[in-house]
Amino acid sequence: MLVLGIESSCDETAAAVVRDGRAVLSSAVNSQIASHRPYGGVVPEIASREHVGSFPVVAAEAIAQAKVAWNDLDAVAVTHGPGLVSSLLIGLSGARALGQTLGKPVWGVNHLEAHLAGTFLDPAAPPPAEACPLLVLMVSGGHSCLVEMLGVGDYRLLGTTLDDAAGECLDKGANLLGLGYPGGPVIERAAQGGDSAFVKFPRGMEHARNRKTDNGLEIEMCFSFSGLKTALLYHLKNHPADREQHLADLAASYQEAVMDSLAQRAERALKVTAARTLACVGGVAKNASLRAKLEDLARRHQARLLLTPLAYCTDNAAMVAAAAGLRALAGIGNPPAVEADPSLPLVEEDSAAG
């Protein structure tokens, strides 16, 4: 089964060809980071304008690199949410135009499920059926959650962020430290050689035992980063000289607080679920300190660790084609791509009473 994946939910326009949900024949990504850097974050209007220009280029590049013909494709799969509505619409319109021209089905893919499928793009990863139950730490600029994957298309939400996403927290911290954008990589670079114990920043909801959110999630498996951002803000107000004299130490301490709180919640989830395999997906999964912490965690709990290949951590279309391919091969199918849903959930969180 040959699927062309299309991704445009945020600031990356991407297209890729994937065979049978696992084998990447091509993956073309046009990142807009440079265009958004002056603003310290993704500017919606710039993003959608750039998607319009990049879409035909990356789609043609994906087909050419894969050395396949347009008619060899079995389907087109496109991210239909969650994301910026003005960005999602470009990929969706492009995919539907392609599908109509080629006479192929156009499937809608959940961006979060796509990140999860990115785990299986590592040729060394086991097939999904063998990896499940799989504990997934999903960490990116827009999302931070812990999910138990019971099978393809079958997920249970264990915890989520109560305020900011991990990547967003890194972006805001980098902004406060005057380091630029995107936050994750610039903080990681600035933190090199720094003392991660220089300031003991809060981990957020550290001592929340036996408490639940109003929709029934265990707070000890949820994240909270807004207190960390505020703590950095106040540290800089009270010690203005540290920004110059201890920049590496502050960056290292801040990064440590984010990554430690992620690893801490993943450990709690490992203890209460049957999952003996742990995966980490999303842009923040690129962070070397987080990877080291998860390796240590997996070793201590005799769990298998699946780390998404670095090229498929940040947004890309190979993971979109992979998610669609895995669903099709598992026999559960894909929904048609009809409209963009900016807040499409992976798991329905409003089930109880909304």
Binding site: Y39, G41, V43, S343
Partner: protein, 147 residues
């Protein structure tokens, strides 16, 4: 009637959220509430208090990624963050006008000053400012629309 302004002081995040909950009871359906204050001032914290009072059960996070998050509670809430928006054209490409003029619930907008020229006069405004040396004490200014 003229617009009225009220200044209040809170000493903790919980007190700020309780104040938000009291305001929620006052807000009519369709009300647009603009939140002002610097990074870390507690705008999202205020919206969390509002959400709880409206009967929203899901955790209310920052909408920085998709810019608009919608919640179904006993009353609906739209939480909008315009931090990265560069003016009205940008915001309206995201469908903001549907929330300003056609939403049945409460609309809370962070960084609303980004689209100041497009906001209706019937907006409510809440300004959050740090007070004193502590991390949690705030001066909260509430500006109610006329009429």
């Amino acid at each position: 009637m003229e617009r009225t302004t009220e200044r209040l002081e809170t000493n903790s995040a919980a007190e700020t959220q309780a104040l938000a909950a009291r305001l929620a009871a006052e807000l009519p359906d369709g009300a647009v509430l603009c939140l002002h204050g610097e990074l870390g001032a507690g705008k999202t914290c205020f919206v969390q208090g509002l959400a709880k009072a409206l009967g929203v059960r899901r955790p209310v996070g920052s909408p920085t990624f998709t810019l608009i998050n919608e919640y179904k509670g006993q009353r609906a809430l739209a939480h909008v963050d315009l931090y990265r928006v560069r003016g009205a054209g940008d915001a309206f490409g995201l469908g903001l006008e549907d929330y300003l003029f056609r939403f049945g619930g409460i609309v809370a907008i962070e960084w609303a000053e980004r689209v100041a020229e497009s906001l209706p006069e019937t907006c409510w405004h809440v300004r959050l400012e740090a007070r004193g040396a502590g991390e949690q004490a705030r001066t909260v200014t509430i500006e109610r629309p006329a009429g």
